[in-house]
Symmetry: C2
Subunit: 330 residues, 2 copies
């Protein structure tokens, strides 16, 4: 679910911000999976050792810390969010038949589809076990909402493959469901554990949602103009798979290119030459710039939401996370 975004999230450099709680989260993740047995244990260790930026648990944790002190409950809610993310990655790799994940062979590559399905289910159940055991009801409602949206979003995206008539609204619906709502739910989950009020929950949620939109839009831009070394995937991989994202949707609105792009999508004619031409036009017509501008607006909106919340070290951290995205945009 939302593969490309997840990879996008991973690509963010965290070096400038020393996120609070990353070590605790790592410890809890290890702890939560230590009673797995046999091959399940091997698979869990494989996933854990592959690492990751742990963006979702950090959002849970720091969103909670905005409103109250560090608690075991908060750490548990954060751990559950990462387990759900891991589960979705394992299942994604089955779906995409991916061989690599975080530069390590994927679970399905090493252990086959059979075990990968079970491993993902196990990780989901571990997450819900933590939420249930710790009576984190609000977080559970939010994680359920996130998973249902991811599943439905992936399905809607698949249904829109190679659809040259896809609207911007539909694009937003998809990136919301498969990516942004999960980030929104993570922020709200942490804030709910810390007993934020309903306005605060809404605002921290808006922050996460807009962060998610920006993440995904930037990821979709980078499909056209990112360097392979940065994105870790071949150029125009999404387009080749038929995912019509913001840059192409905007290009189709240009009368001079509408017919050509529509026909290319319709005929699925994504030769290297055509793609090179598409990329040239996207840059030439200022559409890449326009997309970055749209992402920047979401980042700004995310940052604005933070100004309405208690101002402390943790709001500052969340603000810096948005800045890191902004830095990629400029």
């Amino acid at each position: 679910m939302g593969i490309s975004t997840k990879e996008g999230l991973q690509r963010i450099k965290f070096s400038s911000v020393d996120f609070i709680g990353i070590e605790e989260i790592e410890k809890e993740l290890n702890h939560s999976l230590e009673d797995a047995k046999d091959v399940m244990k091997e698979m869990c260790q494989h996933i854990l050792s592959a690492g990751g930026k742990r963006v979702r648990p950090l959002l849970v944790l720091n969103s909670g810390l905005v409103f109250s002190g560090q608690t075991s409950q908060l750490l548990q809610a954060a751990t559950a969010a990462e387990l759900i993310h891991m589960a979705s990655l394992v299942h994604d790799d089955i779906i995409d038949n991916s061989d690599l994940r975080r530069n390590k062979p994927s679970i399905n590559k090493v252990w086959g589809t059979h075990f990968a399905v079970l491993c993902g289910d196990y990780l989901f159940s571990k997450a819900f076990g933590i939420l249930s055991r710790n009576r984190l009801i609000a977080s559970m409602d939010l994680m359920v909402e996130a998973i249902q949206n991811m599943c439905q979003g992936e399905i809607i995206q698949a249904g829109e493959r190679f659809n040259h008539e896809i609207s911007i609204d539909r694009y937003y619906e998809i990136i919301g469901m498969k990516t942004a709502i999960f980030l929104q739910c993570c922020c709200k989950s942490g804030a709910a554990v810390s007993e934020a009020n309903s306005f605060q929950l809404q605002m921290i949620g808006e922050y996460g949602l807009n962060l998610g939109y920006a993440f995904q839009i930037i990821d979709d831009i980078l499909d056209f103009c990112g360097r392979v070394e940065t994105t870790g995937k071949p150029k125009c991989e999404d387009v080749r798979q038929g995912n019509i994202t913001l840059p192409l949707i905007l290009l189709m609105k240009d009368p001079a290119y509408s017919a050509w792009v529509t026909e290319t999508i319709h005929n699925r004619e994504f030769s290297e030459e055509t793609l090179a031409e598409v990329i040239f036009v996207l840059n030439d017509k200022g559409i890449i710039k326009e997309c970055f501008h749209i992402a920047a607006k979401h980042i700004l909106k995310a940052k604005e939401c933070l100004t309405l919340l208690p101002q402390n070290a943790y709001t500052q951290l969340l603000d810096e996370l948005a800045d890191m995205l902004q830095a990629r945009v400029n």
Copy 2:
């Protein structure tokens, strides 16, 4: 997870017992999935229309009714159990590459692996959404336990494929994890909603566990001597896939056949002639009878547990469910 058992459960004839709540469960199942969208909706409707005996929700519901009156909470816990079962069936069919489920094409057959993975995840999340929304914490803990056991049990079973040294203890561990514990958790889930005390929870759980063992053992026997029309799968399908079950484990304890069976398993030489000979010997040496006897002991134990609980129409119903199994044994 536990495919063969699930099919076994389906094969039970319920005509002699008019289970209380089956219509309400059906209605709730439909209701719980009605907000699915697009293809997800089609998949959910496909699964719902394929039907099933709804053994797990009936166990939840009737186990609860033993201790108190019908409540919406109880019905929700029952619905969640069936959704989890459905999710595991959808994922099982990916794992086994099955084309048919309940005499309809499987989800992966119609919509492909991609959508089947997402559909299963969606059903799991729907189940946890119901449990979370209704604050059914005890049921949630139990369903998490059931899923984790199913996943791990499947993996352990896969690891023991074609292992001629598999012990009876290991066999029990596997059938417990992949089948019996789910039934145990269903019974305990219903009883917990009805606020049964800890002794009662333990007893109704023992009932479910032993019912589960009996179900699976009988299913494993029928792999060798069931009629294809009844079992709905080719004879000796489990054996061919390398699942060494109770009949073969017992046969290997017979000095006259130990070497032959061991070698057959080791060399994976399951020709039609060999299998016919195995079946002949299993009958001739009384091993089939012995296995049925072992299943009967579990049924008896299940029924004994019920005698320690409040005696009413619902304990009676659960007793009759065990009898139906007994009727298959004789």
